[in-house]
């Protein structure tokens, strides 16, 4: 039984869906296998802030009942029905707490479901629980969580990336086949890169943001986390589509993603290397794996061209003005008046201002406070034009740079992150060094274009995962899945299997060899 469960957790979502459809396994078995794995390894990984066993098993049982009943009940099941999923704890859920990784929301239960959560429920995908993150998604290491850091399954002394380290680590550690993340400056893709998983930031507006606790509204985007490119395509088709509750959501159906992941060739496609997104500042092992992927794509018949986006050098600066500006306003609602933590001032008059102040002082961590202060400053009268205004102009220039680049290439390619996973604590006291982790991912958020990170191999010097990032024009998410799936299959052929097969087993499995893989 243990061996069977171990086998089940190694399957992709697509495989699980097929096994469920053929009734080779039940949804309860699949869900229980993942819950067991969580029980087994999450003490080491700390990917989950909340495990939702009861509800997940109940949903799985519903799926099994529908399949057993046959007829229309079985036919109406979504292809991913019964395939479990983890949800980043920035996304609100009825019936489970939502903390955003912050003390200020400790114990808070949302009275409503995020639109993406409603879609998961409609598809009857059991929700395994809520995953750890940097507080309010602010960070690149998940060390800024108020509930302790998540650890990288490849090396428990290293960070799993951030802010969505919990979702990435859960998927990398086989605790979940799929997860939802949110990506404001790389929070899906950079954790994907350093944990050897696939992460996609869809086109801005492709997935409803309703119910994702806003960090920076004009940059935030919910997206899939998985172990294969096809799985991400399957998941994006579940969660995407227009939402009347999000006026920035697009009306495009984005229903060609799975088909794109199955095209299977890149012959004749033009793939652009972004001159500014590799080279200096990138770890040698990262550069090597990147160059290797380029050669493999060239061998597969793609035309590799070089493009330049000269304004990308201003991207990080612009991002760290726009993002904190929006943060300072979006996080104003956390004041202890209507929900969440309320802290009364220790002494002195009990005025509303002082209660709000005491609550925010006690409830927010340092990184959150840093960004609120930065953003408040950047929006202040007299500074607005110089900071927020200039940053918006840079944003426009970057969008134009990408427009020009996409006139020459169908997709762009770069390393996802400049380095492999660093050690816990290594950059915690150096915010600027931490911010540099997102240098290659931030431009896609500023431009609103989709980006995908997939495993590109292990760096020679440390044996840790390297991520390859693909970027496409807005609304052309399908191109990412087409090229990503092809590169993935070429690489896996080269490796002789999925890269994650090389990751440590963790938990009781690490002492009882065999049974897996």
């Amino acid at each position: 039984m243990t061996e069977l469960k171990n086998e089940l957790i190694r399957h992709s979502a697509a495989d699980l869906a097929a096994k469920l459809a053929s009734r080779e396994v039940t949804a309860v078995e699949v869900t229980q296998a993942h819950l067991d794995r969580i029980a087994d390894v999450d003490g080491q990984v700390n990917a989950f802030l909340h495990v939702n066993s009861e509800e997940a098993l109940a949903v799985a049982a519903e799926v099994d009942a529908a399949r057993a009943a046959g007829g229309s009940a079985a036919q109406e099941l979504h292809a991913l029905a019964g395939v479990p999923i983890a949800v980043k704890d920035l996304i609100v859920t009825i019936g489970q707490p939502t903390t955003a990784g912050s003390k200020i929301l400790e114990g808070w239960h949302s009275p409503y479901d995020a639109t993406v959560v409603k879609k998961l429920r409609a598809a009857k995908m059991p929700i395994l629980g809520k995953t750890n993150l940097d507080e309010f998604a602010m960070g690149s290491s998940t060390e800024h969580s108020a509930y302790g850091p998540t650890r990288n399954p490849w090396d428990l002394d290293r960070i799993p990336g951030g802010s969505g380290g919990g979702s990435a680590a859960a998927v990398a550690a086989f605790e979940a086949p799929l997860a939802l993340g949110t990506d404001t400056g790389g929070s899906i893709r950079q954790p994907g890169a350093v944990t050897g998983t696939v992460g996609v930031k869809p086109t801005y507006g492709a997935v409803s943001r309703y119910g994702a606790i806003a960090m920076a509204s004009s940059l935030d985007q919910i997206g899939p986390v998985s172990r294969t490119v096809l799985d991400s395509a399957l998941l994006q088709e579940v969660i995407g589509g227009h939402d009347p509750f999000d006026s920035t959501s697009l009306t495009d159906p984005f229903n060609d993603l799975v088909a794109a992941a199955r095209v299977g060739n890149v012959a004749g496609m033009k793939i652009g290397i972004v001159k500014e997104l590799h080279g200096e500042g990138y770890q040698a092992g990262v550069e090597n794996r990147f160059n290797e992927s380029l050669q493999l794509l060239r061998d597969a018949g793609a035309e590799i061209v070089e493009v330049s986006c000269p304004n990308l050098k201003y991207a990080l600066g612009a991002y760290y003005l726009i993002m904190p500006s929006e943060v300072s306003s979006n996080l104003a609602k956390f004041d202890g008046v209507r929900f969440g933590m309320r802290v009364l001032p220790k002494d002195g008059p009990m005025t509303i201002e002082r209660v709000m102040g005491a609550t925010r002082a006690a409830g927010f961590g340092d990184e959150v406070k840093r960004r609120i202060i930065l953003g408040t400053y950047a929006l202040s009268a007299g500074y607005y034009d110089a900071y927020y205004g200039s940053a918006q102009k840079v944003r426009t220039l970057i969008q134009r740079d990408f427009d020009a680049a996409f006139a020459k290439a169908d997709v762009l390619i770069s390393p996802t992150a400049p380095t492999t996973a660093f050690r816990l604590g290594e950059k915690l006291d150096d915010p600027l060094a931490m911010y540099l982790n997102d240098v290659a991912t931030i431009p896609a958020n500023l431009a609103g274009i989709p980006g995908l990170s997939l495993p590109g191999g292990l760096a020679d010097e440390d044996g840790l995962p390297v991520g390859i990032q693909l970027l496409a024009p807005a609304r052309q998410d399908a191109r990412l899945y087409r090229v990503g799936a092809v590169l993935e299959s070429i690489l896996e052929e080269k490796w002789g299997g999925p890269m994650l097969a090389q990751a440590p087993l963790l938990g009781s499995a690490s002492t009882t060899a065999g049974g897996s893989n």
């Binding site: 996304i91 609100v92 939502t98 955003a100 929301l105 808070w108 949302s110 009275p111 409503y112 995020a114 943001r209 309703y210 119910g211 994702a212 606790i213 806003a214 920076a216 509204s217 004009s218 009347p244 509750f245 999000d246 006026s247 920035t248 500006s325 929006e326 300072s328 306003s329 104003a332 609602k333 956390f334 004041d335 008046v337 209507r338 929900f339 509303i352 201002e353 709000m356 408040t376 929006l379 202040s380 009268a381 607005y384 927020y388």
Partner: protein, 502 residues
């Protein structure tokens, strides 16, 4: 609290020239709120007309109410404004518990309507053009009730209750350009301007326009400058002046107060003032400077509002006749004098008279009933005349009964009281109360004989040609018949009896 010194209005006017400015907030009567699907309803249990969006729960997003945009465009067009082809919302950031997100979603530098004007007709017919700078969309805040302490004020309160039912109610804020040249008519103009805005939004059907409910709220800016000087003085902003009378009084008071401050050689403090109806004066609120920093920035959760020219023209075509034009048309059609028409308008019965005429009454009859009978009764009952319970059909019916000689005017007013008391239709009341003009001459002749016998000297006078003395006999007959006789017929019969030509 010290009482501010004031100059007399006349003296203030001698020395200074007032400049006014108004911000009028209009609550729209859309079914749902500005950015959420919660109901926009006044007066329900606190915190019942709210959803997660109105409460600013984590993760929520706003969605613009299309009807509110339509209403805003209509208001803009009625104020002769240009309508922006595309405009954005902005966030006005400030911490206050009546604003659940701790920012208000408003419009900042891109109002939906701008550069308009409104021609205001003053009592004597003078027309004064008020330039409109902008009309923009925003959301209302919740309502705080301060408990404990003095008179519901935040100072000294033990705690405050907050009701978010009003949070997110759609507002249009109409901002004038500085209004110069009103001189001593400034208070009158202030009242007339707010009345005109109120009338326009009511006429458009976009707001319930009840000032007592806060559907229309006025902030009045006043500054003074010495005559002949171009530069504006320092202004005060009197908040929430919520009746037409109060607008007039507040502007007058502020002019007198500013004049006294300037006379004393002190600078006027730029601040908000609170209006107190009981003392008809203002008190200092918080200092307000142009440096108040709300850290406005474009609302990233909303896409721009695009108003295509086709849509704007479609809406323009649906606009009702402007109130001022309508008044001009009705006055001519009804043939009222200036004074009569102004009284009708001021009494608030123009619509009722129009409906009564439409129901079949003549213009004069309609005016006689509404102005002569109903307005007075409404005042006693402290309701709008139109809400007293008199329908145009009642008046038409009453008038028919009078004209048909069934009842006289005096009886008709009794029938009206019966209608208001819920006794039924006029015909039913005439029946029930036994009211009918006595038309059988028999009883009348008896009464006439008795009256003549009772006052033989008067009868002699009439016989002698002093016909004007007949009143005493008619009076006697009417008294004897308890007013049910037709006085005209009584007079005829008396003259006949005495053989005198009327």
């Amino acid at each position: 609290m010290s009482v501010d010194a004031t100059l007399s209005f006349e003296e203030a006017m001698e020395k200074y020239d007032p400049v006014l400015g108004f911000e009028v907030h209009v609550e729209l009567n859309t079914k749902t709120k500005m950015f959420s699907s919660a109901p926009n309803v006044f007066g329900d249990e606190p915190n019942t007309n709210v959803n997660e969006v109105d409460l600013g729960m984590p993760g929520v997003l706003p969605v613009v109410n299309k009807t509110a945009v339509e209403s805003s465009i209509k208001i803009g067009l009625a104020l002769n404004c240009k309508i922006a082809e595309s405009c954005r919302f902005a966030r006005k950031n400030y911490f206050y518990p009546d604003t659940p997100k701790n920012f208000q979603t408003s419009q900042y530098d891109e109002p939906i309507a701008y550069d308009g004007y409104l021609d205001i007709e003053l009592e004597d017919g003078t027309v004064f053009r008020v330039e409109i700078e902008r009309a923009h969309m925003e959301e209302d805040a919740g309502k705080l009730t301060h408990m404990g302490g003095a008179a519901g004020r935040i100072q000294g309160a033990d705690y405050s209750l907050v009701d978010y039912n009003r949070s997110g109610v759609p507002l249009v804020e109409i901002v004038t350009k500085p209004i110069e040249g009103a001189g001593s008519r400034a208070p009158e103009l202030a009242k007339a301007y707010v009345a005109a805005v109120r009338e326009i939004v009511k006429n458009l059907g976009v707001s319930d326009a009840k000032m007592e409910r806060g559907n229309v709220r006025c902030d009045a800016n006043v500054s003074l400058r010495p005559h002949g000087r171009e530069r504006f003085g320092i202004r005060s902003e009197t908040k929430n002046v919520n009746s037409l009378r109060a607008v007039e009084h507040a502007v007058r008071y502020e002019i007198q107060r500013h004049a006294a401050v300037l006379d004393s050689g002190e600078p006027v403090i730029q601040e908000t003032r609170h209006w107190h109806e009981d003392t008809r004066s203002t008190t200092s609120g918080r200092p307000k400077s142009d440096a108040d920093d709300y850290r406005y920035f474009p609302e990233p959760d909303l896409v721009p509002v695009v108003a295509s020219r086709e849509w704007v023209e479609e809406l323009r075509a649906t606009l009702p006749e402007p109130p001022a034009e309508r008044r001009k048309r009705l006055k001519e059609a009804w043939g009222y004098s200036d004074l009569e028409f102004r009284d009708v308008v001021n009494a608030g019965v123009m619509d009722s008279i129009e409906e009564t005429i439409a129901a079949g009454a003549s213009a004069d009859v309609a005016r006689k009933w509404w102005m002569g009978e109903i307005v007075g009764r409404a005042k006693v009952a402290d309701v709008d005349p139109s809400e007293l319970g008199v329908t145009p059909q009642v008046i038409v019916e009453l008038n028919k009964l009078v004209e048909g000689g069934k009842i006289n005017n005096k009886m008709a007013t009794q029938v009206l009281d019966g209608v208001l008391a819920g006794e039924g239709t006029p015909a039913e009341i005439v029946e029930k109360r036994g009211l009918a003009v006595v038309s059988d001459d028999g009883p009348l002749l008896e009464a006439i004989d008795a009256a003549l016998a009772a006052q033989p000297d008067v009868a002699e006078k009439i016989r002698g040609g002093k016909v004007q003395a007949i009143g005493a006999i008619v009076g006697g007959v009417m008294k004897a018949t308890r007013g049910q006789a037709d006085a005209g017929r009584v007079r005829e019969l008396i003259l006949e009896k005495l053989g005198v030509q009327g």
